[in-house]
């Protein structure tokens, strides 16, 4: 993994990295990916992927509404807020 690739992934993952970080991650992630490359040895043709921790299906909840959180509780953890909402740096469409 090159420093440029690290920078691309970091932007995708919204992580600010300085130049040192990029170099270190490039090296560490490369060695981890080298280790992971052993998966390539295995022939997995026709093997069904296993994405879930439990092998069940069709779990639904009933369509019933219950009271919402008080707005004060909903906003309580906001790093910045107004009286009625979460505030973030301006988004212009």
């Amino acid at each position: 993994m090159t420093k440029d690739e690290v920078a691309k992934v970091a932007l995708l993952a919204r992580l600010r990295l300085n130049d040192d970080d990029k170099g270190r991650y490039a090296q560490q992630l490369t060695s981890i990916l080298d280790f992971i490359a052993q998966l390539g040895e295995l022939d997995t043709e026709g093997v069904e992927p296993l994405a879930h921790g439990v092998d069940r299906t069709n779990v639904f909840r009933e369509d019933k509404a219950r009271p919402a959180l008080d707005r004060e509780d909903a906003l309580a953890n906001a790093p910045r807020r107004s009286a009625e909402g979460f505030l973030v740096p301006a988004v212009l469409d």
Binding site: H52, G53, N58, R61, R66, R71, S82, G85, V91
Partner: protein
């Protein structure tokens, strides 16, 4: 025909429609889905994406989605799952949207575009797929440096319906969307209020231009912010003109330029280029580990099919076949909403005067309902009463004019009037005796000698003169004369007089 056909290009349109499902609670959690509440008052830990929370699928939302797909003739997947679509945006609390990627619950299907009486529609649009996902919250730009996030809408169940690029005009795009709204309302899947955002539409559009060198396709543009049926039509017309002008200027084709996203500005009547995202989209879809897959068996589909009942397109066909209505009349009765067609069905179940029933409902009933601002389901005259009245007119007990007056009185009485009593009290009885009618015709001729003269000299057309005289006779008899008899006697007497 629609205006585009005269142009040197064909408009090619595909729709991407988002529809909020009519559920009591959110897709994955328990707060309600009401529109228009104060910001952030419809939130729970799950839809806020708080650490530690988990989604659990709303069974009703899934069934409404299935019903939609069944109604559109989609292929229902036996096995479907949910995936995470990863992207960062403040209106998406978890920074991933629970959606469906490679195994949506349905594929294919189609939507009819009903014909209007101006030569539009009358086609079928193929669907690519329908899938289920969660809605996002809303961003409100407040002042200067900050935007406010309102998460009331976040987690509302949302259907994404994607069509193939089968639409060839802006009117057809609107008609297709209207048919979709009608179908979804019939199914009780969504209230489809574009103003409230429960039906939202994006359109992908480009042009196929005939040139001496062959057919050329312009770059595809995705138009967003279409918030009314009218804006769909206007935006597509604008965009077609714009693309054509641009192509004439720069000659760029679909091969030369990437797809771009433009927002429709309704007040300005133009589409504007939207700012490109700072990073290329890479949604990193993967199966949502917190939600288990769903297996849909035939019995489930059969049960929902049985619940669906008759669809708008099936109803139109039945109205044409069973009641001899024109395609246009059948469509008007159906497209005005389920309660209108239900009302018609209730009337024609009790009278064989189908055409009269159709006319009166399209005119008197709908006009009155609109004027009063009520739904036809709440119309003050019961369909049984209207059927009775129409039958009496059909049997010649009242003439049409009288019938309409009686209907007016029934409406005035706001559901409390008795048909028999109103007819009795108003003396609404059609006069079919020849004697008094002859007298009235003679009187009319005597009072209007010029009419007879015009007829003889051929100065006016006979039909016009007859129509005038018929009106005079009806007036003189207080509208009670049998109009058919008036016509017959008038014809006979005029020919006797050598007219």
């Amino acid at each position: 025909m629609s205006s585009e056909t005269a142009k040197p290009y064909t408009m090619v349109v595909g729709l991407e429609v988002h529809v909020q499902l009519q559920t009591e609670s959110k897709m994955f959690s328990w707060t309600g889905t009401e529109f228009g509440l104060p910001p952030n008052t419809l939130c729970d830990p799950v839809n806020l994406g708080l650490p530690g929370t988990l989604p659990v699928m709303n069974g009703k939302a899934f069934e409404l989605a299935l019903k939609t797909a069944i109604a559109c003739g989609c292929t229902i997947s036996k096995y479907t799952k949910w995936d995470r679509k990863n992207y960062f945006y403040p209106d998406l609390p978890k920074n991933y949207q629970i959606s469906q990627y490679d195994l949506p619950f349905s594929l294919g299907g189609s939507l009819p575009i009903p014909a209007d009486n101006e030569g539009n529609g009358g086609k079928t649009v193929r669907l690519t797929r329908i899938h289920l996902e969660e809605d996002t919250g809303k961003m409100v730009h407040t002042s200067g440096q900050e935007s406010e996030v309102d998460l009331n809408r976040a987690g509302t169940p949302l259907l994404e319906i994607v069509s193939e690029p089968d639409i060839r005009s802006s009117v057809d795009a609107r008609l297709c969307l209207e048919e979709l709204r009608l179908t979804l309302r019939y199914l009780g899947v969504s209230d489809c209020e574009m103003q409230e955002g429960s039906l939202r539409c994006d359109a992908n559009v480009n042009l196929h231009i005939d040139t001496p060198a062959g057919k050329i396709a312009t770059p595809i543009v995705e138009i967003k912010n279409l918030n009314s049926f009218r804006s769909v039509e206007r935006a597509l017309n604008y965009e077609a003109e714009r693309q054509y002008a641009k192509w004439k200027e720069d000659g760029l084709t679909i091969k030369d330029a990437p797809k771009e996203t433009r927002g429709w500005s309704d007040p300005d009547g133009v589409t504007k280029l939207q700012r490109e995202k700072e990073t290329a989209a890479d949604y990193r879809y993967f199966p949502e580990p917190d939600l288990l897959p769903v297996v849909v068996d035939d019995a489930w589909v059969a049960r929902l099919k049985a619940e669906i009942g008759e669809l708008p397109r099936e109803r139109r066909e039945r109205f044409e076949k069973a009641f001899g209505l024109s395609e246009y009349d059948a469509n008007v009765l159906v497209e005005q909403g389920k309660d209108v067609a239900d009302y018609f069905d209730a009337v024609v179940a009790r009278t064989d005067q189908y055409k009269t029933a159709s006319n009166w409902i399209q005119q008197d009933v709908l006009r009155t309902a609109n004027a009063k601002g009520i739904r036809v389901a709440d119309f003050p005259v019961a369909p049984e009463t209207l059927a009775d009245l129409i039958s009496r007119v059909g049997r010649g007990e009242l003439n049409t004019q009288q019938g309409r007056e009686v209907l007016g009185k029934l409406i005035e009485a706001d559901g409390t009037g008795d048909l028999e009593a109103i007819i009795e009290a108003g003396g609404y009885k059609m006069v079919s005796d020849e004697g008094p009618i002859r007298e009235a015709i003679e009187a009319a001729l005597a009072a209007n000698p010029k009419a007879m003269e015009d007829l003889k000299t051929g100065k006016k057309k006979p039909d016009a003169i007859k129509g005038f005289l018929r009106g005079q006779v009806m007036k003189a008899t207080g509208g009670k004369a049998n109009p058919n008899l008036v016509g017959q006697l008038l014809d006979a007497m005029l020919s006797e007089l050598g007219g």
